[in-house]
Symmetry: C2
Subunit: 223 residues, 2 copies
């Protein structure tokens, strides 16, 4: 017999998450000048994870779990909004705001599914397992790509510097090192084309800075 | 050694599919009055398939294949546009237009991945396997839900009648019959609230009509 209360909770959850389509990110889509929203971003990275799996440095990836994480990871933004990754003040309160959002939103679904959603989201945030680390790498690569292919519009708007993008994306070097040469070229070309500001450091200092930032970044130390 | 030509094709494909975010559907999002695009629709149904798997009438569903189909199934709209499901003229040329689009778009990716994408898309379109039939059922349920929860805005705009929605969604009855009672209630309530027009048929004639339309519908006989 159909548990209709269960179905109604599932439907309520499905209707609730429709709101993610209204959450705007800082990145612009590559065609037409409008900001991307978190629902379409989630679609894009889910497909990217499938297409780019071969570049993972781990042989332990369950790509379906990665896809599920990526489909779910931004739902908290329905309440907490998108936090711009280079806004250090907003990022201080990000985890607390998102945890509250996760409690409210996931618990609209039936208990067992709410628990699964919470587990996936927490694993993504903790960024410690192979699945979640690869998911985070893909979640970084997508805005890098569409920032570059929208002529650096968001980077220029926010006066972003090369070392900030290197820091933000160092997880790609760690989890998908085969992609890193390409990413570095893209960043160098973005500087060349004026999409990104160059630091006034020597090349050597830049490398040291990047290594330092990568080692101390809180990107993967949220929880 | 990294096959950089392969990576470049993958990146080109990933950037190309960003265009799906500009393809507008007839459905409106439930909050704010704007049309939904095909990328965010694809995200929504991928998550719905995972959440509603238990309602499938088949025990042979590979839900990851369903999710992949749903993430990929609308990519052809980048070239072919979204074809409104109640526009019978446009639907006549739909398959031909979409096949051409599939050939161009999928072949941007490396050969092996292009083949996989084409296989998934064709399977979804043919709508004969358990995976593709469940995927199609979910692809129907989502617009039904958001049409209802956006106060029937798209239905009212296009003067849609109850029997058209019943016809369009009969695959839900076949593939996820446990959801059908809920769907029928939703449709009846949509008529009650004036979101959908009621036919001037007797109840009995309506049932016969629905059965006839379901049996002759080309929804699942595209290829």
């Amino acid at each position: 017999m159909l548990d209709s209360l269960r179905l109604l909770r599932q439907i309520e959850f499905i209707v609730e998450i429709d709101k993610l389509k209204q959450v705007l990110r800082q990145t612009f889509t590559t065609t037409k000048s409008r900001q991307e929203n978190s629902a379409e971003h989630s679609w894009h990275i889910a497909l990217m994870a499938i297409l780019l799996l071969e570049y993972s440095d781990s042989d332990k990836i369950d790509v379906f779990r990665v896809v599920k994480m990526l489909l779910v990871h931004d739902l908290v933004e329905i309440d907490a909004g998108d936090t711009f990754c280079y806004d250090n003040d907003a990022r201080k309160s990000q985890h607390e705001r998102e945890l509250q959002a996760a409690e409210r939103i996931f618990n609209i679904a039936p208990k067992d599914q709410a628990k699964t959603l919470m587990t996936l989201w927490k694993e993504f945030e903790a960024c410690k397992t192979p699945d979640s680390r690869f998911a985070n790498a893909i979640d970084r690569l997508q805005p890098l790509l569409i920032n570059y292919y929208s002529n650096g519009k968001a980077w220029i708007k926010h006066n972003i510097k090369r070392h900030q993008v290197l820091e933000r994306n160092c997880i790609i070097e760690e989890e998908a090192p085969k992609l890193w040469d390409y990413v570095k070229e893209l960043i160098d070309d973005a500087v060349q084309q004026g999409f990104l500001k160059k630091e006034n450091f020597s090349r050597c200092a830049t490398i040291h800075l990047r290594n330092y930032l990568c080692a101390t970044s809180d990107v993967c130390l949220k929880s």
